[in-house]
Point group: C2
Chain length 315, copies 2
């Protein structure tokens, strides 16, 4: 089933201990789309400037990603420059230019309107909500956000959370959103804000899914720990992290792409989705930008899925 | 099969967000022994002062832990005072009094000498080595250490590492010992120093086992990632961490205790040992000091083992 994703398509200049790349194709919607494209049809809503040309377009087209919803406008695309020289787990931002993104007003092509899955990548919650409201009939809505919106745009973000089935954020964001430093307590507080399911990404330590335990819950994820249903997926310890940019969006793409490819959202589907998310996040780190995500095969993905199983399973 | 453990038996004054306890029974050898006692026979080598009385003795005796090797001497037992008010993952030490530990010279009772398993808890590497040399016939030796010995007593520590089969340390210690911030590269460097197996404890994120891949290796742990065999065990996300003191020693006790209880060290035994380590570490955090470890049943331990399996397994 098709996923519509709204988010940024951008150029990134990235420096890591492994080297430096100027103006790679990036942005949350790009990483998400490429990652999800290995599992299901993907349709993008974004805005780009005149610097987005044939070469960038082909990256999407070669993965059969629908780009009708990418608006082309005068000016330059969103640009981000950052480095990970001291800490591979946290980017240091040197420059952010919103450019054409500053006035972005997402428009949903009619051909996208039958999408059953919607992913609201990390953008202004006001825009996330506008897209959500224009697609009232989707079956499952997932979203991401970041510290900036949590701290300074809380009321708008809380409105978005009410309309989400699944929120995917990292440890720091979950604790900040809940105002609580204990992960389980923070997760419970976030689930009370709207989402039925919360996926907390732990970077190199994997990710944890929390699901609201409710007698009428359609999703019987087990086991239940103190009233919340929990599942943990590992991450692969990597010999060399070349570039962690987009790992979280790639996780989301693998997770949601796999879910959308399944006939039903069973507990088993959620468990596998967590593993596929972790698999796609690990691939993303192996090369600069989206290089690795552009060149995968489904066999490589499934081989790594099996490696993750072996890495963590008792038998 | 019996394990002999050498390490500290101490009194701890601990403050956490959950409250404060004065002079709890503590010390690495205490946590290790109690944890391992649920799996196999344990014999302790330590030194205590006149403040170690009938009540403390009974904690060991009620778990059938052999205390012949606990030397009683004039003065006070080792004392540590610390708090976790800002960060539950890292203790802030307020006071350390070595007391009788300052002149500790481990003596091994003859009745311990047929032990096939030896655990060198975190003490001066000179003492670790002295005990190791007096027990040349053990089948498997594991050990722990800490940043202080890594930084300031490196030559003595390196001698100990040469005689270890298994080293159990945390992320920071592994990276410091290797002088490398990448976990996989650090693990490989540590394995080159002697131990065949390295277990890196990640606190609330579980633990990773690294095993030297070698064609003649007797331990065929799978899978192999870039030349090193790896296995990951989760930790249980806890609603309330009452007191993390001793969680690492409890992990070691569960891990090594389970291994010692098995007829052979197969890959399956190592995998289960990692899970039992994580299980015992999670119990340790649920009450102050050794309170929770004193009152477990094997059924509670196995129930939690099964919960960990459910928490992480695809099916």
């Amino acid at each position: 089933m098709a996923i519509t994703v709204v988010g940024s398509v951008a150029f990134d200049t990235i420096e890591t201990p492994a080297g430096k790349r100027e103006r790679c194709l990036g942005g949350a919607a790009t990483y998400f789309s490429l990652s999800a494209s290995y599992f299901t049809d993907v349709r993008v809503i974004a805005v780009v400037g005149e610097d987005f040309g044939r070469r960038q377009q082909e990256v999407f087209e070669s993965h059969k990603i629908d780009t009708q919803g990418i608006e082309h406008t005068k000016g330059k695309s969103f640009f981000w420059e950052g480095s990970y020289l001291e800490n591979l787990n946290e980017a240091k931002t040197h420059n952010t230019e919103l450019n054409v993104f500053a006035t972005f007003s997402p428009k949903i092509p009619d051909s996208y309107k039958d999408s059953q899955y919607l992913f609201l990548a990390n953008i202004d919650p006001v825009l996330q909500r506008r897209v959500r409201e224009q697609m009232p009939d989707v079956k499952l809505v997932a979203g991401d956000t970041m510290n900036y919106w949590i701290k300074d745009h809380r009321p708008a973000l809380l409105e978005v959370l009410k309309g989400l089935d699944i929120l995917l954020i990292n440890d720091t964001e979950a604790k900040m959103l809940a105002g609580n430093n204990n992960l389980v307590q923070a997760a419970r507080a976030v689930l009370a804000l709207g989402p039925k399911t919360l996926v907390v990404k732990h970077g190199e330590y994997g990710a944890t899914l929390f699901h609201r335990a409710s007698p009428v819950s359609e999703l019987a994820i087990e086991p239940e720990v103190e009233g919340t249903k929990i599942f943990r997926a590992p991450a692969l310890p990597l010999e060399e992290v070349v570039d962690p940019t987009g790992a979280g969006d790639s996780f989301a793409g693998g997770f949601f792409g796999y879910l959308a490819s399944q006939p039903e959202q069973t507990p088993a589907a959620f468990r596998s989705a967590m593993f596929y998310g972790s698999v796609m996040g690990s691939f993303a780190c192996e090369r600069f930008g989206t290089e690795r995500l552009q060149q995968l095969t489904r066999k490589e993905i499934d081989d790594r899925f099996n490696l993750f199983r072996e890495l963590t399973h008792l038998d």
